[in-house]
């Protein structure tokens, strides 16, 4: 078998003021013609650095390739001159980057940007170049290519821009495409489209793809082979089925277990304890040993080599050594373990409304003629002690709804009643204080939502300080809160930058809990975190719900996480709730076409399932064009509401009866 690309024992370091960061430590893999190799890992695992090394795109001033070979068609890329390297970039190996919003030059027409590499690497005349650009745009599914080549990037949507980026990469018919998280910045249904496009083009052109991602669902959909990276090393590599179904390395097992699956019934997610190691000061032995519950003594002394499991499957764990004890399956216990098991047995939601939203409208005026209807007449209720999930794609109004509930927006119309009080009538200073105590918010980005110049203790106690506690009481309370969210007392006197993303989100939660709220609005609280950390935070939120009887509005775009955490879910589309039901009901019997398409677009961490699945396509345009005046939320089945017309309602009821029989 001929390899188009071979990486042998690659070591890459970065020089920083603090010292040498060992980003890639001895990575070896190869790539066959026409195959897709996925490199999976969390942030800081070295996956992006590895991929950039393949075309020498890491910043030259600070990067040091200490060792290793990268053989492209037998030539070592690390030894050739910059000029020779430029001939390979774009022509033989092309790249697709994560964020299509920033990957395109805002001041150059897209036609010119696509043509650039064609002009650079071929001698085509300008009319031929133009034809080629149009052909490429048509290939990636952009209509009216002739007129659109003269447009600028901001005139395209995110998904369209990623298509343009793909067209750019394909311009010179490269042999290899390196796709660095190409769909992470996109909505699920757009992601599904882009992934299908990549697959289609790959088959058409016989491309090899190196696909960098953190999303195991995307891996299951795209990859032929998978390499799992941790702390600069490949810990497991093999065919996609081997890695998913014969998982060997404890880290891979942990990652897979940390992802909620729609058919999962367990009450708690597995979470890998701790956080990834500091690449400045790597611990002795296996870098994963500290987080590994199955770690052996030798893991703390010496790094394990790659053991061969089959012809194609390798894993770096001492558990594979002949002297190692037999492995036991992962125990579903984590540090956020439930305090008392009997709570689980109880029905934790009492059927008493805490929140009642009636006809909420939130319009934003752009100018004299244009109004954005961010939230357009939605109604729902949240029971006491319940987690209500709000899902939808970007721009659907889910975050705006959350902000309206906490009075960050002045609502245009409608009624919001929280604990029996109309929040529009909350006006006096005293009432506002009480309201702010009752309702708290957790934000998406743990990096920008904490004031970098305040100590953790002051951040947490800011809400408490209104109550004028004395110094000792205050300190005690802060320590209590830190322990509640799984941090230590010692953390109180530090500043936010000393913490990792997951820890910061814990601080954000502690801040929200400080005033003992009844209702917490969590706006995408986990989307900025790595998979293993997400599970920790979700488990913490669930634990707090049970222990403190909290009620949540959980806003997110990640459907599997929302399904896992929520009791009931509302699906939002263009400012309206189109479907609302208990989470099991919604996933088993989705009725609204939009919900169906969303669920079918969600990549699942299960390669066999992914191969069989068909995506249901939601026709956005015809839905928009339709007269929706008669559509209201109707209860199709007990507790299951769907936005539909009278006629559709009858149809839905019929199909449901069939299902029931």
């Amino acid at each position: 078998m001929d390899y188009i690309l071979q990486v042998k024992n690659l070591h890459v370091s970065f020089d920083t003021y603090a010292g040498e960061v060992q980003a890639v430590r001895g990575v070896s893999f190869d790539l066959k013609a026409g195959e897709t190799l996925a490199i999976v890992g969390e942030s800081g695992s070295g996956k992006s650095v590895t991929s950039k090394s393949l075309v020498r795109l890491n910043p030259p001033e600070s990067t040091r390739v200490k060792n290793g070979e990268i053989l492209f068609e037998g030539k070592n890329i690390l030894n050739i001159t910059e000029q020779e390297m430029r001939k390979i970039r774009g022509a033989d190996i092309a790249m697709i980057f994560q964020d299509p919003m920033t990957a395109l030059n805002p001041t150059m027409t897209i036609g010119k940007q696509i043509a650039e590499s064609i002009r650079k690497h071929t001698n085509m005349g300008s009319t031929k170049v133009k034809d080629r650009v149009i052909e490429l745009l048509q290939m990636v599914g952009i209509k009216d290519a002739e007129t659109r080549i003269k447009q600028y990037p901001h005139q395209f949507s995110g998904g369209m821009r990623q298509r343009i980026v793909i067209a750019m990469a394909l311009a010179c018919e490269p042999k290899i495409i390196i796709a660095d998280e190409p769909t992470t910045a996109l909505d699920v249904s757009i992601q599904a489209q882009i992934l299908e496009l990549l697959k289609h083009i790959q088959q058409q052109m016989g491309l090899s793809i190196v696909f960098i991602t953190h999303d195991l669902g995307v891996v299951a959909k795209m990859a032929d082979r998978v390499a799992v990276m941790y702390a600069g090393k490949i810990v497991e590599i093999g065919l996609v089925d081997e890695v998913f179904y014969k998982t060997t390395h404890p880290y891979t097992k942990g990652l897979l277990a940390a992802m909620p699956r729609p058919n999962m019934m367990s009450d708690e997610l597995y979470s890998i304890p701790g956080s990834p190691p500091d690449l400045l000061n790597l611990p002795q032995g296996d870098a994963f040993a500290e987080r590994n519950k199955q770690a052996l003594k030798i893991d703390f002394i010496e790094e394990p080599p790659l053991f061969q499991i089959s012809d194609t499957h390798f894993a770096a764990t001492w558990l594979l050594h002949e002297l190692a004890p037999k492995t036991v399956p992962l125990e579903n216990k984590s540090e956020e373990s439930m305090s008392s098991d009997f709570v689980l047995e109880q029905e934790h939601t009492t059927k008493e409304n805490l929140i009642l939203v009636k006809g909420l409208k939130q319009y934003f005026k752009l100018d004299k003629h244009n109004t954005v209807k961010a939230v357009d007449d939605i109604s729902f209720n949240i029971y006491k002690g319940e987690i209500f999930g709000l899902v939808g794609e970007s721009g659907c109004g889910k975050s705006t709804t959350g902000r309206s509930l906490i009075k960050l927006n002045d609502m245009t119309a409608g009624e919001v009643i929280i604990d029996g009080k109309d929040i529009r009538k909350v006006k006096s200073k005293k009432e506002l204080l009480e309201f702010n105590r009752k309702v708290q918010m957790i934000f998406q980005d743990p990096y920008s939502s904490l004031n970098p110049r305040m100590k953790v203790a002051d951040i947490i106690a800011e809400g408490l300080d209104i109550h004028h506690l004395n110094v000792n009481q205050r300190q005690e309370k802060v320590h209590d809160l830190l322990e509640t969210v799984g941090l230590n007392k010692e953390h109180a006197n530090r500043y936010p930058h000393e913490f990792s993303g997951g820890q910061r989100q814990r601080i954000g939660i502690a801040r929200a809990l400080a005033v003992e709220p009844d209702f917490i609005i969590a706006d995408e609280p986990i989307s900025a975190l790595d998979v293993s950390i997400q599970a920790q935070i979700v488990n913490l939120l669930k634990k707090l719900q049970k222990e403190k009887g909290l009620t949540y509005l959980f806003i997110a775009h990640d459907l599997s996480m929302v399904k896992y955490i929520s009791d009931r879910i509302g699906v939002m589309y263009r400012g309206k709730i189109v479907e609302m039901a208990s989470s099991e009901e919604l996933y088993e019997n989705p009725i609204h076409p939009y919900t169906k398409s969303l669920l079918s677009a969600l990549p699942l961490p299960d390669p066999l399932l992914e191969r069989e699945r068909k995506r249901i396509i939601f026709d956005d345009q015809s839905y928009e064009g339709r007269n929706r005046e008669n559509e209201i939320l109707r209860e199709v089945r007990k507790g299951h509401f769907v936005m539909c017309t009278e006629q559709e309602y009858e149809e839905y009821r019929k199909t449901i009866k069939v299902v029931n029989h």
Binding site: V55, L57, E61, R86, K87, I88, R89, G90, A91, A94, M95, F97, Q98, D99, T102, A103, L104, N105, P106, T107, M108, E116, S117, K120, H121, Y152, H154, Q155, V165, M168, A171, D367
Partner: protein, 308 residues
């Protein structure tokens, strides 16, 4: 786009009116008058006041002034034998404009080069060197630099004339002296913007296409870095043209800046008002041009302007 420009011009007139009103009222309420000569008999003084309408209430004077202004009449100078203000300005502006434009052109080009060089060779000798020049340019007053040039290039080497106005060679030294602060401002700004742009993902994208560093900077770097720089170039032009009065004095150049200072000393109301209005119009027009230019460089703004 047309509507955008029209509304901008509308705002221009409002701004201009406020400037005229404020400077008129301020000037009239401050103590002193154009005819302060103690030897002047009161009767004659009254006659002069009557002749120029200075005995009327301020409000009435203002209305008269506006009426004349709307016909392009800036009045006559009190101190220069009744010569019209417009004539004085038009005689004087030539030297100032040539000097200012040359300084801006030279300063912008050198500043851009230094800034780009510093950004490309970030944290190296070149970067530190360029920034040292920039800091010196900002902190050393231009008249010190002017004196230095006069002494070394003019007197010691005898290459160029050290004063007066006539021909291109007379403008070289003052242009250099005037452009120092422009170089410094532009260089510092360019460096920051360029570093910002070079960190953008589309630069890596361009590199991944196989373009050379030269092509990347030329096609993707400069234009994007230029967008914010354009905003400061506007005020910089006006500052340089109006702020050349010290340099004009040192090099004895008959420019508008020098004239402006003199008119303030002699309380020549009409000349002060005229020059102020001239400067204000200049400033507003330059800012408008910059904003329109902005749209041409940044397509995102162009479309937003066109839609509304």
């Amino acid at each position: 786009m047309f509507r955008y420009i029209m509304s901008r011009i509308g705002y221009m007139f409002v701004t201009l009116f406020i400037i005229i009103l404020l400077s008129f009222v301020l000037m009239q309420t401050l103590p002193g008058s154009p005819f302060n000569d103690e030897k002047l008999p009161p009767a004659q003084k009254e006659l002069l006041y009557e002749k120029y309408g200075l005995d009327k209430p301020v409000a009435e004077q203002f209305v008269t002034y506006l009426k004349n202004l709307s016909q392009g009449d800036l009045g006559v100078s009190f101190t220069f034998d009744n010569r019209p203000v417009t004539k004085i300005i038009s005689e004087r502006i030539g030297a100032s404009a040539i000097l200012g434009m040359q300084a801006i052109l030279l300063g912008t080009m050198v500043g851009l080069l230094l800034g780009i060089l510093a950004a490309l060779r970030h944290n190296t000798f070149w970067d530190y060197g360029a920034m040292l020049i920039a800091v010196l340019g900002i902190s050393i007053p231009s008249f010190v630099f002017a004196g230095f040039l006069q002494y070394w290039v003019g007197v010691k080497l005898g290459w160029l004339p050290i004063a007066f106005w006539g021909g291109f060679e007379y403008s070289i030294l003052p242009t250099f002296a005037l452009s120092v602060s422009v170089v410094a401002t532009i260089a510092r700004f360019t460096r920051i913007e360029m570093l910002e742009v070079l960190g953008q993902e589309y630069i890596i994208t361009a590199k991944s296409k196989g373009l050379s560093s030269f092509e990347i900077i030329g096609k993707h770097g400069i234009r994007n870095a230029l967008i914010p720089i354009i905003t400061i170039i506007g005020p910089l032009i006006v500052n340089t043209i109006t702020g050349s009065l010290v340099i004009e004095k040192i090099f004895s150049i008959p420019g508008l800046g020098e004239q402006f200072v003199n008119s303030i000393i002699t309380n020549d109301y009409q000349l002060i008002m005229g020059t102020t209005i001239f400067y204000a119009v200049l400033f507003i027009v330059v800012v408008l041009i910059v904003d329109i230019l902005y749209g041409f460089i940044d397509p995102r703004i162009r479309v937003a302007g066109g839609n509304r």
